[in-house]
């Protein structure tokens, strides 16, 4: 029987004992949640898991934010172009914010021939906040994810990687919901890649003007750092022998007009394509942008708009991919 003489000895013994006990429980809990979340196949977490677990390797891959996610109808692309495709766009996150996804994908892909980068008016802005970090939490040990956190949100990076168990603070109910889905998938052996729409998320709502004011024109931010990030991503894609394609996604005309410098954004994307010698398709002047029936808000296409847009993109991509 252990005999502890002083209260301080008791503190040291029991304090240390409890710290070890607690750490073991927390490590186990953190690990088990991360394991199950990485097996979730729903929403954005499911998409990210596909890449992080190397479960997707299509000939055509689309990266971008919500504008690309709701705009590129993957099935249409597959039929028109006669190849495998996946819409890996993540909502609320331009690819400068989820650089780890392209990096990870480029590390393992064998089949990919073309990567489409969907550009929206906010794609070139400064990024200093990780949107919905719980989506990437399960993969925080991945070096690309780690670099991504460090680059975009250094303060969150410091806490997440240097404060033990800080991931519990970052995790939210979406994370835990995905853990339950992942647990169910693991038990039932459900594959990650079971999305019939292949990453495309159609919206069926009618147009609603989301501008706060018609009078005050906003300015689109164009960041030099973000431009450099895009350049680096494109160079990496090219180094892997894959063809990058920049696509300016359609924005409803009134939305375009609500910005004082929409043309500057177009010029910036154009100069990015020139600097990197990348094919560039501009759909900002396509007929679709004049019809509100194709949009559910100024920046996002609805399902019928997506169909129309994808058909147009397909025609353009045919030249890049098949040369006709």
């Amino acid at each position: 029987m252990l005999h502890l003489q002083s209260d301080k000895q008791k503190l040291l013994f029991y304090g240390l004992g409890f710290t070890l006990f607690l750490s073991a429980i927390l490590m186990f809990t953190e690990g088990i949640f991360a394991y199950f979340v990485s097996h979730s196949n729903t929403e954005q977490t499911g998409k990210i898991n596909l890449v992080m677990q190397h479960q997707i390797d299509t000939e055509l891959m689309i990266f971008g934010s919500s504008v690309a996610e709701v705009g590129f109808d993957t099935k249409v692309l597959e039929q028109d172009l006669n190849l495998s495709a996946y819409n890996m766009a993540i909502d609320g996150t331009p690819i400068s914010g989820s650089e780890f996804l392209t990096n990870e994908f480029l590390d393992y892909t064998q089949n990919c021939k073309t990567i489409v980068i969907g550009m929206a008016f906010f794609s070139l802005g400064d990024l200093n906040l990780m949107n919905a970090p719980e989506r990437y939490l399960a993969h925080k040990t991945n070096p690309h994810v780690k670099d991504n956190f460090k680059k975009i949100s250094p303060s969150l990076y410091n806490k997440l990687y240097h404060v033990p168990f800080y991931s519990f603070i970052v995790a939210n109910h979406t994370y835990y919901k995905n853990a339950f889905i992942g647990a169910k998938n693991s038990l039932k052996n459900i594959a990650l890649d079971n999305d019939p729409l292949k990453g495309f998320v159609p919206h069926y709502s009618d147009y609603e003007d989301t501008r706060e004011s018609l009078k005050n024109l906003e300015a689109i931010s164009i960041s030099k750092t973000t431009m450099e990030t895009y350049t680096a991503i494109i160079e990496k894609i090219k180094a892997k022998g894959i063809t990058p394609v920049l696509v300016i996604t359609p924005m409803y005309i009134q939305g375009q007009q609500s910005f004082s410098n929409y043309n500057e954004y177009l010029t910036a994307v154009e100069s990015l394509s020139e600097q990197t010698h990348t094919t560039f398709f501009d759909f900002s002047t396509h007929a679709i942008v004049n019809d509100e029936n194709y949009f559910y808000n100024n920046g996002h296409l609805n399902a019928s708009g997506a169909l129309k847009f994808t058909e147009a993109v397909s025609d353009s991509l045919k030249i890049v991919i098949h040369g006709n």
Partner: protein, 485 residues
Amino acid sequence: MLFNSLDFAIFLPIVFILYWFVTQRNLKWQNALVVIASYVFYGWWDWRFLSLIIFSTLVDYTIGRKLQSESNNSKRKLLLWSSILINLGFLGFFKYYNFFIENFVQAFSFFGAPIQPNTLNIILPVGISFYTFQTLSYTIDVYRKQLEPTKDIAAFAAFVSFFPQLVAGPIERASNLLPQFYKKRHFKFINVQFGFIRILWGLFKKVVIADRLAIVVNTVYNSPEDYGGLHYILATVLFAFQIYCDFSGYSDIAIGTARMFGFRLMENFRTPYFSKSIGEFWKRWHISLSTWFRDYLYIPLGGNQVGRARLYSNLMIVFVVSGFWHGAKWTFIIWGAVHGFILIIENVLSKRKWVLRNSKSRLLGFVKVLLIFCITAFAWIFFRANTTSDAFSIASELFDFSQSFATNLRGMTLYMGMPLWKLIACFALVAWLIIIEHLIIKKKISELFIIKQKPIVRWSIYTGLILSVLLFGSFEIDQFIYFQF
């Protein structure tokens, strides 16, 4: 620095180790460490306002010493009033200046003489209401010769700024806390265990219960025009538990932290929602403030040793001032007045035989508890509402169930933009709290009960609480409600 922050999680063990393992041999060093730690704790928020605490400390220390050496009564009175005016002057300026200016302007405009307002952009120093009352109690006790003034400036500075209770109480009396700084504290493992479990329970109440309930409460109270009777009732009941868990959670953390350092702070809450009268409620809710007002305002006004009319006016004064102490808004004043008014009614009714004051019936007891809860919850409307017009509109439409969206619970929650399970979770948390509080009242559980368990059982309870905080806690709302006071 917030108790529920990473900063505090790093700060506390560092101070604890320095306190018990480096400075323990020398009482003066230990007190000096408490002062430095407290100033760091406070300065973390805004170091500029440390000067206020230091100034208050020096003023009351000096006046306390002078009160002892002065025998002339009028000079002693002058010294007392100097302390009161200086302390309340700071409080008045930082907390009430804009309130008075705005109300004067409105009053002049009302009488047809509009004047140009001259409000200032004043930041309210965190905890000013708490430490001002704490230092005032010292000077008043010394003046009343109920307390020996201290000669130890470090002990006094530590008493004024003691970090566990500096920003939101409990408002300690000098007679309880100050002598604890004179005596050498001995390390006791049981104090650490007691403190630890108390901190965890406080954190659970704050992060898991209060902050979860706050999401529903804020949704309704921040745009009451979008909602109706059922939502108001729902949000108000949840707010009653939110504010209790928020504030008593803070007090638990304060008491637990102080205990880890060998100090015993007064209890601030004793399961107030189990009260059977408003009078009892105020003996169980924010005890350190209600006893402060009792000793330094109610009794000097004559207390209950006066005629009926005077007694009632004294009660009303105390509660209105108490409401005003909470904040420079009419909503707080009305909240205080509502409590004062109900206490007066209770006082009047208590003389009637049919009130069955001493009945042992459990059913009657339950009905009384429920009734008092409903009354206090109603009064919380005025406390929580953003404006007086919001408060009156919520209070008047409380039983208006005509809204089309309120046909069922799911419809109600969907209208609020949240899934039904979130609301169910809120009620489950409240039910859980009530069960625990009931067991505490019945003395079925206590800190000692947990401490006496075998290490593995104890550790499992600690771990369970920590995991609950980490898994179910909301880390979006971090501020404690009482910080604004």
